[in-house]
């Protein structure tokens, strides 16, 4: 099982309930919308969040050195210079 972290509109937080690490990208985006709409993410409650709010977001699946699995749903970061 994995911890889902959602970053949106400058805020980033973990969702308390674990997800299957192999959850599809489409399902992660759908679940994330429901979590944010319901206020399940601390500091980020948007009741009328658009269904496609995370459509262009990137999903990273990372395993820490301690074996912990984490899923990050985040905005694209194309820029630097």
């Amino acid at each position: 099982m994995a911890t889902l972290n959602i970053t949106y509109n400058g805020h980033s937080a973990d969702y308390e309930l674990p997800l299957d690490f192999a959850t599809s990208d489409a399902d992660i985006r759908r679940i994330a919308v429901e979590i944010v709409r319901s206020g399940g993410l601390r500091g980020l409650h948007i009741a009328n969040l658009a269904q496609n709010a995370f459509a262009s977001f990137v999903i990273d699946r990372l395993t820490g050195t301690d074996g912990a699995q984490r899923i990050y749903l985040r905005p694209k970061v194309p820029f630097g210079a």
Binding site: N5, T7, N9, P75, P78, F79
Partner: protein, 193 residues
Amino acid sequence: MAPKVVICGVGALGSTCVQYLRNVDAELRLIDFDRVESKNLSAQWFVKQSLGKNKAEAARLQLANFYGAKAEAMNVKLGAHNASQLLADCALAVDCFDNADSRNVLSESARAANVPLVHAAISGDGTFGLVRWNERFTADREDAEGQATCEGGEHLPMIGLIGATLARTIQDFVLRADRHDYLISLSGVVRTS
């Protein structure tokens, strides 16, 4: 002998990071082919006296004039044809490029040369950034070619936060060979590996 750190891209994140590296125990090589324009002054670590200068050379001069710190400047565009030369004898490469194609060339070249590489990147709306090592990094592409970012100055505090986090990451690598990733949002900086 101090390790050589190569900063690839001396724009918003690159120039901001460089100012925090002025006392790091490393030789700095700065690479950028672009010139400082007036619009850059609101989001990049350049002063009016640097207008028109090559960005790598301008950053080198500012380090020298403001702090007496030394760096090497290279006015060149990094590509597949010259990457191995530019990364030669370096202990660490740092990616602050502004496009996925250049990031990918640098990633491949660093892997081929077995050079550690750390990336820094910022979202288009300036609310989020990453510092991530090459083994866990995939370059994101713009939603639309030519997508605007960083030029109005609105994102400067976030650029500062990401640049400082990157500088700390470089410092940790130089001092202890640590390789940590960070996620940077308006909520704060979180270590993710």
